[in-house]
C-alpha cells in the first residue's frame, strides 16, 4: 500500500523539487559561472536581502496575527454545542474550497480605493486609504487564506484540554484570568505552535496574494523567484532562493520540534 504512494511522491514531488534545487549549483546565467555563485549573488545583493527580510517579516506577522485571531474561534468551537461546531467547521472548510484566486480577488474588491471598506471609512468621516499595494493588505489576505490551517491544529489541541483544570485553578484561588494564563494557555501552547508554524511556512512561499494585493515595490521572495525563473530564465538563481527559503522553513520546524519536546504540556492534554 505504501509503495505506490512513495513512487507517486517520488515522481511528482521529490524528483522535480530536487532538480529545481540542484539547478542552483548547475545552472548559471552570467555573471554567475560556477560553484556557489548563485547563492553568493542572492545574499550579496542588498535588494534581495531586503526582500528576504520583508518576506520573513510578513510571514511572521501572518503567523502571530492569525494565531491571535484563530484562538477565540478555535476556543469557541470547543465550548459551543455540536450543531454550532458543525457550522463553524463548515464555514472554515467552505472558505478552503473556494479557490485561492477567487478569495484574493474578493479582497481586491473589498480593499480597493472605491471599495466597501473605504466607503465605510468615508461614511464615518475618515479619509480613504490606499490599501492595495501595501504590506498590511498582503498580510490581511494571507491571514484569511491561512486561517483554517491555524484553526484546525489548534482546535484539536484545545478540545483535548480538560476544562475542569481551569475550575480547579479557580477553586485554589486563581482569578479566571490567571487560571487561563497559568493553566489553559500553557496547555494550548502545542496547538498554537503547530498552527503558527504551518501558517509561517506556507506564508513564506505565498505567491498569488502578494502578486494581487501587494505591489512590485513591496515584492516578496516568491515574486522575485518568479521574476528570475520566468522572465530571465535564471533557473539557478531561482533555485538558490528556494534553497534559502527551504533552510529558513526547516530551521523553524526543527526549532519548534525542540520546543515542543521540551514542553511538559506536549503530548499530554489529559
Amino acid at each position: 500500500m505504501v509503495v505506490p504512494v512513495l513512487i507517486l511522491l517520488g515522481v511528482v514531488f521529490v524528483y522535480p523539487t530536487s532538480i529545481f534545487l540542484l539547478r542552483a549549483f548547475t545552472h548559471f546565467n552570467p555573471p554567475q559561472v560556477a560553484g556557489l555563485d548563485n547563492l553568493v549573488w542572492f545574499l550579496g545583493d542588498e535588494t534581495n536581502r531586503i526582500i528576504l527580510v520583508r518576506t520573513f517579516t510578513v510571514a511572521s506577522m501572518c503567523a502571530v496575527l492569525t494565531a491571535i485571531v484563530a484562538f477565540p474561534y478555535a476556543y469557541c468551537m470547543t465550548v459551543i454545542g455540536p450543531r454550532g461546531r458543525t457550522i463553524m467547521l463548515g464555514v472554515l472548510l467552505l472558505s478552503m474550497f473556494l479557490g485561492i484566486l477567487l478569495r484574493n480577488f474578493a479582497w481586491v474588491i473589498l480593499l480597493q480605493y472605491q471599495g466597501p471598506l473605504n466607503d465605510i471609512l468615508d461614511a464615518i468621516g475618515l479619509d480613504r486609504i490606499r490599501f492595495l499595494g501595501t504590506a498590511p493588505a498582503v498580510v490581511m489576505g494571507m491571514m484569511h487564506i491561512l486561517f483554517p490551517f491555524m484553526v484546525l491544529p489548534l482546535y484539536s489541541v484545545l478540545n483535548g484540554i480538560d476544562r475542569r483544570l481551569v475550575l480547579a485553578a479557580q477553586s485554589m484561588g486563581a482569578t479566571p484570568m490567571r487560571a487561563f494564563r497559568q493553566v489553559y494557555l500553557p496547555l494550548a501552547m502545542p496547538g498554537i505552535i503547530a498552527g503558527a508554524l504551518l501558517v509561517f511556512v506556507l506564508a513564506l512561499g505565498f505567491f498569488i496574494t502578494p502578486a494581487l494585493l501587494g505591489s512590485p515595490r513591496q515584492a516578496l521572495m516568491s515574486q522575485l523567484m518568479f521574476l528570475q525563473f520566468d522572465l530571465q530564465a535564471a533557473f539557478g538563481r531561482a533555485g538558490a532562493m528556494a534553497i534559502v527559503l527551504l533552510i529558513i522553513a526547516m530551521v523553524f520546524v526543527i526549532l519548534s520540534n525542540i520546543v515542543q519536546r521540551r514542553s511538559r504540556a506536549y503530548g499530554d492534554a489529559s
Binding site: 480547579a168 485554589m172 511538559r264 499530554d268
Partner: protein
C-alpha cells in the same frame, strides 16, 4: 492539631436551594441541609440524584437558581470560586499536567502570595501528610492513580481550607487501594479538623468514612443521619434499598395503635413500630437480611413474622452465606446466615423474622 474543631472548620447551610438548568432539568429542588463544623458528611446517591450539583453550587462553579448557601452564616452566593477559600478534590483529580507535583501543590499558595520559605514549608507538610515527600519533582503522568489521588488531596489541603469538598475522589482506584485511602482520608480529616463534604455513589465508602450520610434521590435528600441511624431506621423504601440489602413487603397498611401490619401478597407482616416519618398510608415493611432466619416449613416461632419461601440459590461469601429465596408471590428475598447457623434442607422453607426487626417505611413512589 484539631484541639478546637470550630476554629479550623466551617459550618454550611443550604437554605431552600433549587438549581434548574437551561435545559429545564431540575437537579436540586428546595434543598435544606445543615452541615456541622468539623463533620465528615457524605452525600450518597445514584448518578443524577443531584449530589454533585450540590457540591458544584458550594464550590461556586454553578449558581443556585433560588435559595441561599451560607458558610458560617454568610451568604456566599455572590462570591466567585476563587474567593471562597474552599478546597476541592475533583473526580479525576484535575492535576495540572504541565506542572510537577510540587508546583501543583504550591499553586494555591502562589495565588495567595505566600513567601518562598513559608511556601516550601507548607508544601513539605502537605506532601508529608499524604506520604509523597519523595515525588515532588515528578509530573502527574509519571505517577500511579493512587499517587495522583494523593497529590490532589495535598493540593486541596495545603492552604488549610476550613471546608473541603471531594467529588468521588476514590472512584478510579482499585478496591484494595480504595480501602487504604479511605482510612488515610479519615486520618487527614482528624489532623486537619476541617469540615469535609464527600460525594460518592458507593455505599460501603459512605459507611466507612462518614460522621453523617445524606441520601440523595431525584434532587432531594431522602434522609440524613449517622450510618447506624440510616441502616437501622431507614425512613423510606429508597433508603432501605440503597443502603445495604433489604427484604421488602408492600401492601395496604393497617394501624393498630402503636404497631401496624401490612397485608402483603405473602401474608400479613407485622411491625412493632410505625416510623414517625411515615407519611400517609402508602407504606412498606422492610427487614434486613441478617435479621432474618430460615426454618423448616411451618416451624417459625409463633410471635415472629413468617413467610413461605423456596431456596433458589446459596452463595458463599467466605465469612457468611447468602441464601436467595423466592416467595409465593414471585418476589425474591435474601437471608444472610452466620457460618454456625444450619440452613434447613430445602427447597421448601419458612422465612422468619422478629416483629421488632421489621420496620415500616414510606413506600418508594409517594
Amino acid at each position: 492539631m484539631a484541639e478546637n474543631p470550630g476554629q479550623n472548620a466551617a459550618e454550611v447551610r443550604f437554605a431552600g436551594v433549587t438549581k434548574t438548568f437551561n435545559t429545564g432539568l431540575t437537579a436540586i429542588s428546595k434543598l435544606d441541609l445543615d452541615i456541622r463544623a468539623g463533620e465528615f458528611l457524605t452525600l450518597l446517591g445514584p448518578s443524577g440524584s443531584g449530589k454533585t450539583t450540590a457540591l458544584n453550587l458550594l464550590a461556586g462553579f454553578q449558581a443556585p437558581t433560588t435559595g441561599q448557601i451560607l458558610v458560617d452564616g454568610n451568604d456566599i452566593s455572590g462570591l466567585p470560586p476563587h474567593k471562597r477559600n474552599i478546597g476541592v478534590v475533583f473526580q479525576h483529580y484535575a492535576l495540572f499536567p504541565h506542572m510537577t507535583v510540587r508546583e501543583n501543590v504550591s499553586y494555591p499558595l502562589k495565588q495567595r502570595r505566600v513567601g518562598k520559605a513559608e511556601m516550601a514549608r507548607q508544601v513539605d507538610d502537605a506532601l508529608r501528610m499524604v506520604s509523597l515527600q519523595a515525588y515532588g519533582d515528578r509530573l502527574p503522568r509519571q505517577l500511579s492513580g493512587g499517587q495522583q489521588q494523593r497529590v490532589a488531596v495535598a493540593r486541596a489541603i495545603v492552604f488549610r481550607p476550613r471546608l473541603l469538598l471531594m467529588d468521588e475522589p476514590l472512584g478510579a482506584l482499585d478496591r484494595k487501594l480504595r480501602e487504604a485511602v479511605q482510612l488515610e482520608l479519615k486520618r487527614i480529616h482528624r489532623d486537619l479538623g476541617a469540615t469535609i463534604v464527600f460525594v460518592t455513589h458507593d455505599q460501603d465508602e459512605a459507611l466507612v468514612m462518614s460522621d453523617r450520610i445524606a441520601i440523595f434521590d431525584a434532587g432531594k435528600i431522602q434522609q440524613i443521619g449517622t450510618a447506624e441511624e440510616l441502616y437501622d431506621r431507614p425512613a423510606t423504601q429508597f433508603v432501605a434499598q440503597f443502603l445495604g440489602e433489604s427484604n421488602i413487603f408492600t401492601g395496604s397498611l393497617r394501624r393498630h395503635g402503636d404497631t401496624c401490619s401490612i397485608d402483603s401478597p405473602d401474608g400479613v407482616i407485622r411491625s412493632g413500630t410505625v416510623a414517625d416519618t411515615l407519611a400517609g398510608d402508602d407504606a412498606a415493611i422492610v427487614v434486613r437480611p441478617e435479621r432474618c432466619r430460615l426454618f423448616e416449613r411451618g416451624k417459625a416461632p409463633d410471635d415472629w413474622n413468617s413467610v413461605d419461601a423456596w431456596v433458589s440459590d446459596i452463595v458463599y461469601l467466605g465469612a457468611l452465606r447468602k441464601v436467595l429465596l423466592t416467595l409465593a408471590s414471585g418476589e425474591t428475598a435474601v437471608v444472610i446466615c452466620q457460618p454456625d447457623v444450619e440452613i434447613p434442607a430445602g427447597p421448601e422453607v419458612t422465612l422468619g423474622f422478629p416483629v421488632s426487626a421489621a420496620r415500616t417505611v414510606t413506600a418508594q413512589w409517594n
